[in-house]
């Protein structure tokens, strides 16, 4: 089959690879009908976690398709021909964390638990196509995908709704939704969202659906800000105005009650923000993993006793986070990789009822074979690229 394979930093190829097969009775194989490139795939493209990806790893964790093979122990939940969206988190559905709804920290599915225990203290869930720290599972930017623990790791979806409306149940829609839920939004809240990429866009819509009085989107790309404004967000272009001053102006000097980090490790680097230059230099020399400008800014801007909800992916060590500000202001931090299955039943219903149509975010659709080129386009934000869907 064809698949997008990581060969090294910035080196992704559409290779011919052997087909996956059933390895365990709980497995299923799906024929991928649509998959997408995620912003967090760019962290791997840039090799920001050196050593965690190995040449030959297949990328991708946002996918859907048709079940073509089912292991004996998954047959109670799946059958050939089922149409499914595959969550990026691999879940067993049985461990204590899964039973609590903390699916992204499933205790069972990371097949490289020993490595993850050493790195994180305790292992998190296995993920598709996302480093050997999360199991080293083959990703879904491919024609076929082996789904481990398939009886629990799937979202059955009905026929008659196009892939484009359903695909993002795999990641960015529940991630944006969880970002907003973690804020516990009240009707008089202002929710400020750093980053208007695909997850930020979903967080904007989620915050609105959950009743925020005002949603503010912070970014520097005009196309992203126009998409944010389409959902009623107040927009701040941080290259042309001070984020903190504008937020204070909008809140009578008090700051937003709720702040969402939809950026994570790769904050924009610019001369107007000197800390970002230092962060980039440290990242290059392996003295730190993450560029934390947005996180620093939201800690500063957030209203005392407010909430900071982090869903942007961080990869490791982070420098100069103002914990003094955070502690003295009594901020609450909530963060996690999305517990996808916790939200997808509810979100699927909202899609079916026409409350949200996630396909708005797709700006580019291409064949899987064009994947390497689309990675470049997505990285460069060329041609106003916000979200790429690939068709195997």
């Amino acid at each position: 089959m064809k698949a997008l394979v990581w060969h090294g930093k910035e080196d992704i190829r559409c290779d011919t690879v052997s087909d996956p097969g059933i390895e365990h009775p709980r497995d299923a194989i799906i024929k991928v009908s649509s998959c997408a490139i995620c912003g967090s795939d760019l962290h791997l493209f840039h090799n920001l976690i050196p050593g965690a990806m190995l040449p030959g790893d297949i990328l991708g964790h946002e996918s859907m398709g048709e079940v073509v093979e089912v292991g004996d122990e998954a047959k109670s939940a799946l059958k050939k021909g089922d149409r499914v969206v595959i969550p990026f988190t691999i879940v067993c559905g049985e461990c204590e964390q899964c039973r609590r709804g903390n699916f992204s920290v499933c205790e069972t599915t990371n097949r490289k638990k020993g490595l993850a225990d050493k790195m994180f203290g305790h292992s998190t869930a296995g993920l598709f196509g996302y480093t050997h720290l999360t199991g080293g599972y083959a990703g879904s930017q491919a024609e076929y995908l082996r789904v481990p623990f398939a009886d629990a790791t799937h979202i059955k979806v009905p026929d008659g709704i196009p892939d484009e409306k359903l695909l993002f149940l795999s990641d960015i829609l529940p991630t944006g939704w969880q970002a907003a839920v973690q804020c516990d939004i009240e009707p008089d809240d202002m929710v400020a969202i750093w980053g208007a990429g695909p997850v930020g866009q979903m967080a904007i819509r989620s915050a609105l659906l959950l009743g925020a009085q005002d949603v503010v989107a912070i970014d520097c790309l005009p196309e992203r800000l126009s998409m944010a404004a389409a959902a009623g967000a107040i927009t701040i272009d941080f290259t042309s105005e001070s984020v903190v001053e504008r937020l204070n102006e909008l809140t009578g000097g008090k700051g937003p009650q709720k702040c969402i980090d939809a950026i994570g490790t790769e904050s924009h680097v610019g001369l107007s923000q000197p800390d970002t230059l230092l962060d980039r230099a440290k990242q290059m020399t392996l003295m730190a993993n993450d560029r934390a400008h947005a996180l620093r800014e939201m800690i500063y801007a957030c209203r005392p006793a407010g909430i900071i909800s982090i869903v942007g992916v961080y990869t490791g060590l982070i420098d100069k986070v103002p914990m003094g500000q955070a502690m003295n202001k009594g901020l609450t931090f909530r963060m996690a990789q999305a517990h996808v299955p916790r939200w997808t039943g509810d979100l699927l219903r909202r899609i079916e009822e026409g409350q949200i149509d996630p396909s708005f975010v797709i700006t580019h659709t291409a064949d899987l074979a064009q994947g390497p080129e689309m990675y470049r386009k997505f990285r460069d934000k060329a041609d106003s690229c916000i979200k790429v869907v690939l068709k195997p």
């Binding site: 064809k2 698949a3 394979v5 060969h7 090294g8 930093k9 910035e10 559409c14 290779d15 011919t16 690879v17 052997s18 996956p20 390895e23 840039h46 190995l54 040449p55 030959g56 790893d57 297949i58 709804g101 050997h132 083959a138 839920v181 973690q182 804020c183 516990d184 009240e186 866009q201 819509r205 989620s206 609105l208 659906l209 959950l210 009743g211 196309e223 126009s226 998409m227 389409a230 009650q257 980039r280 020399t285 909430i307 609450t332 909530r334 026409g354 409350q355 949200i356 149509d357 996630p358 396909s359 708005f360 975010v361 700006t363 080129e373 470049r376 460069d380 934000k381 060329a382 106003s384």
Partner: protein, 211 residues
């Protein structure tokens, strides 16, 4: 690279995981590869200048410039880091500035009375050639990484079939924040602001027993 992929397959994957059979076209283009080569050249040259600055100085007729050449070695290494990173243009621009310094340093060695003039001429020609490659790589990387086209206006993509105002708060009708994600302490209203109370209907002073 396909061979390396198959070596790592043996080390890190289970037997059933897909294995590379034929590698496709890379996302790296020619400019990326040239920049990568120049980055490694920075490290190689930098290491030589750091390890044997005296030998290099003598071979060029630049006796007494040992310290300067060692400093240039450190500069080369520092330029190599960003040249090998995904911010290649930063490293390449540092390299071009370094090339200018190298040429300026070599210029006095080209004087006719320098017994090592021939070596200095070869070194100058090499630096000039590398400068041309640096400039070409810099221009190439810049041109291929440019944001192309005018920014599009996605102002018609709300993703909210019921419209913005028709959608605001629609999920509150049937969604309740799970207990583990609630913000009780911060959301509890003060006593005199007309708030509706916490989830038990109490104001903050009531909940604290100070009402």
């Amino acid at each position: 690279m396909a061979t390396l992929a198959n070596i790592t397959h043996k080390v890190a994957r289970s037997p059933g995981d897909p294995k590379v059979q034929a590698a496709g076209v890379s996302s790296l283009d020619g400019w990326d590869r040239l920049a990568k080569g120049l980055g490694w050249l920075s490290f190689g040259l930098g290491a030589a200048e750091l390890i044997a600055p005296g030998k290099i100085a003598r071979s060029l007729g630049l006796d007494g410039r040992k310290g300067l050449i060692r400093a240039y070695g450190a500069r080369e290494m520092a330029a190599g880091v960003p040249t090998l990173s995904f911010d290649k243009q930063v490293g390449l621009s540092a390299r071009i500035a370094g090339d200018a310094l190298d040429l300026a340093t070599l210029a006095p060695a080209l004087r006719r009375d320098n017994p090592k003039r021939r070596n200095a001429m070869i070194a100058t020609a090499a630096v000039a050639a590398v400068t041309a490659l640096d400039i070409a790589a810099f221009a190439g990387v810049l041109s291929t990484r440019r944001r192309t086209g005018q920014p599009r206006d996605y102002g018609d993509r709300s993703g909210l079939p019921k419209g913005v105002e028709g959608s605001r708060g629609i999920a509150r009708r049937d969604f309740e924040t799970p207990p583990d994600m609630r913000a009780e302490p911060a959301s509890m209203p003060p006593s005199r602001n007309g708030g509706t109370g916490d989830r038990a209907g109490r104001t903050a002073p009531e909940a604290m027993g100070t009402a």
